[in-house]
Amino acid sequence: MQYMLMLNETAEDFARRDNPEEAQAYWGGWNAFIGAMAQAGIIVRGDGLLGPATATTVRLRDGQRLVQDGPFADAKEQLGGYFVIEVADLDAALAWAAKAPSAASASVEVRPVMPPPEPAT
């Protein structure tokens, strides 16, 4: 089954990315995690995302386009990246999610990827 790991991070996590004193440890942690997943051959796809300060949110209301600076909700944790992985079951996906650096500082949401529709006969 395919699962998406939604890697949430705190504001402090995002700040570490560009902090010269912490960036190495920060990226080292992520590279090790991603490297391990790659070695296990389970990565289907995945990306890191720039921080929530770069986010813009769009809504369409009564035909009006509302564009807003910032993420869709002002929360303590924000999406920092995602991976879609192919593993046997939820337990295997949870085991990988627990290894993500942001599981310790924020959280990882695990969701099954919608299976492709069955082709018509």
């Binding site: 079951d89 939820l90 337990d91 099954p112």
Partner: protein
């Protein structure tokens, strides 16, 4: 073949084999809801076919074959053409062959228990899910026991089953590293069923009371499937010790009798002997376990039947151990109650004060009942009265409420 004989045979198969058949089908399909639908359809066709053609020699194998066919038809209907369907077909054929020959159907109920108590499942629905899938209890019955409307309970159960299927929860026994935590969740869900049955003893229809029997059945099953785990035996011993006292918990007029006033001659000797045996077996592992410790405490109470006195020193030691390793509010309140019984009311009050400082005890009935007894024992009559009344207001059991109100009533002069 009469209709009654056929329906009796179907009912017997439902009672003895439902959990096994469902577990087998669900583990194969990785889908509890589909397995339930297929199995109930199989029972329905049994009621149509058996009166005409006679009850088959091996009703389980017949039901399994019919249910398997239903699952495959459902899948075909839904257009599932993945490799999983072929795998399911292969497994079912092997199983049907085994079941037709012997009773060698592998017991998959353990896997079902672990799925129901998986950490990805809402803890509040784990016990109902187990009762429905492993025991075959209806949503009406479960809703009644858990004070939830049957329709709402049915919906919550369906949601949990949908999550199991869609999120791909494994039907596996967890590996060594995960086992302690996962087993703890299974034991907790079984003990919760027992607690519901125990508290609901006043239920006039005896439905809730039945849940203690269901919990004991599940624990028996777990002991049988995981004989190497000491805590499964600890839990079963604990529940048997409590269950042994059922006949002594009320007097002939239905009034509540606290444990220390119960007539020990009314306790079930067989259940106590069984519990003691399990506890001895469990202790051979030489590992602390919360349920073993609680069972040992109950064992001390049960020994009063033989010795005539309660061994307060043994109780105090066991409660100290339990409180140091598993300091839940329930454990700490029970420990304070043991102090009151041992004549240490002041120490009990200090412990309760400390507990109230750090935990939410405002509407925890055992806290107020214990506090009331401690206040009464230390001569603080007016405060005791207030605490008894407060505890009575929080009691769900009318017999317990009546007992607490009577303890809280001003003394009758003369």
């Amino acid at each position: 073949m009469s209709l009654t004989a056929a329906s009796e045979a179907a009912e017997r198969a439902a009672r003895t084999s439902f959990g096994r058949l469902l577990a087998y089908l669900a583990a194969g399909a990785k889908d509890i809801a589909a397995a339930e639908d297929a199995l109930s359809e199989a029972f329905a066709s049994a009621l149509r076919v058996w009166p005409v053609k006679g009850v088959p020699d091996n009703p389980d194998a017949w039901l399994l074959t019919a249910a398997r066919r239903n699952i495959l038809n459902m899948r075909r209907h839904a257009g599932v053409r993945d490799g999983a369907a072929r795998e399911i077909e292969r497994r079912y054929q092997a199983a049907a062959a085994a079941a037709a020959g012997d009773d060698a159907l592998p017991d998959e109920r353990l896997k079902l228990l672990f799925v129901c108590a998986h950490p990805a499942i809402d803890p509040a629905i784990r016990t109902p899910l187990m009762l429905q899938t492993v025991m075959g209890l209806s949503a009406e019955r479960i809703g009644g026991a858990f004070l939830s409307a049957p329709a709402a309970m049915g919906q919550r159960l369906s949601r949990a089953k949908a999550k199991i299927r869609l999120a791909g929860l494994p039907f596996e026994t967890p590996d060594r590293s995960d086992l302690p935590d996962r087993l703890e969740a299974v034991l907790g869900a079984i003990y919760a069923a027992f607690g519901v049955g125990w508290d609901d003893m006043h239920g006039a229809d005896a439905q809730g009371a039945g849940l203690t029997g269901e919990a004991i059945f599940l624990a028996e099953l777990l002991v049988q499937l995981m004989p190497q785990e000491a805590e499964t035996k600890g839990l079963l011993a604990l529940m048997l010790h409590c269950e042994a006292r059922r006949p002594a918990r009320r007097d002939v007029e239905g009034r509540f009798i606290p444990l220390d006033r119960q007539d020990a001659r009314l306790w079930s000797r067989d259940q106590i002997v069984r519990a003691e045996g399990l506890l001895v077996e469990a202790s051979r592992a030489g590992v602390y376990g919360r349920y073993q410790c609680e069972a040992a405490i109950q064992s001390v109470h049960s020994q009063r039947a033989v010795t005539g006195v309660l061994n307060h020193q043994a109780l105090s030691m066991l409660y100290d151990l339990l409180a140091s390793r598993s300091p839940t509010v329930g454990v700490l309140v029970a420990r304070a109650a043991a102090m009151v019984q041992a004549g240490e009311a002041r120490r009990a009050l200090a412990a309760l004060d400390q507990l109230a400082f750090g935990a939410q005890v405002g509407d925890y009935q055992p806290y107020w009942a214990t506090r009331a007894h401690a206040l009464a024992a230390s001569g603080q009559r007016e405060e005791a009265r207030r605490a008894f009344t407060h505890a009575a207001g929080l009691a769900a059991d009318p017999a317990v409420r009546a007992y607490l109100l009577q303890r809280g009533a001003p003394p009758v002069s003369g």
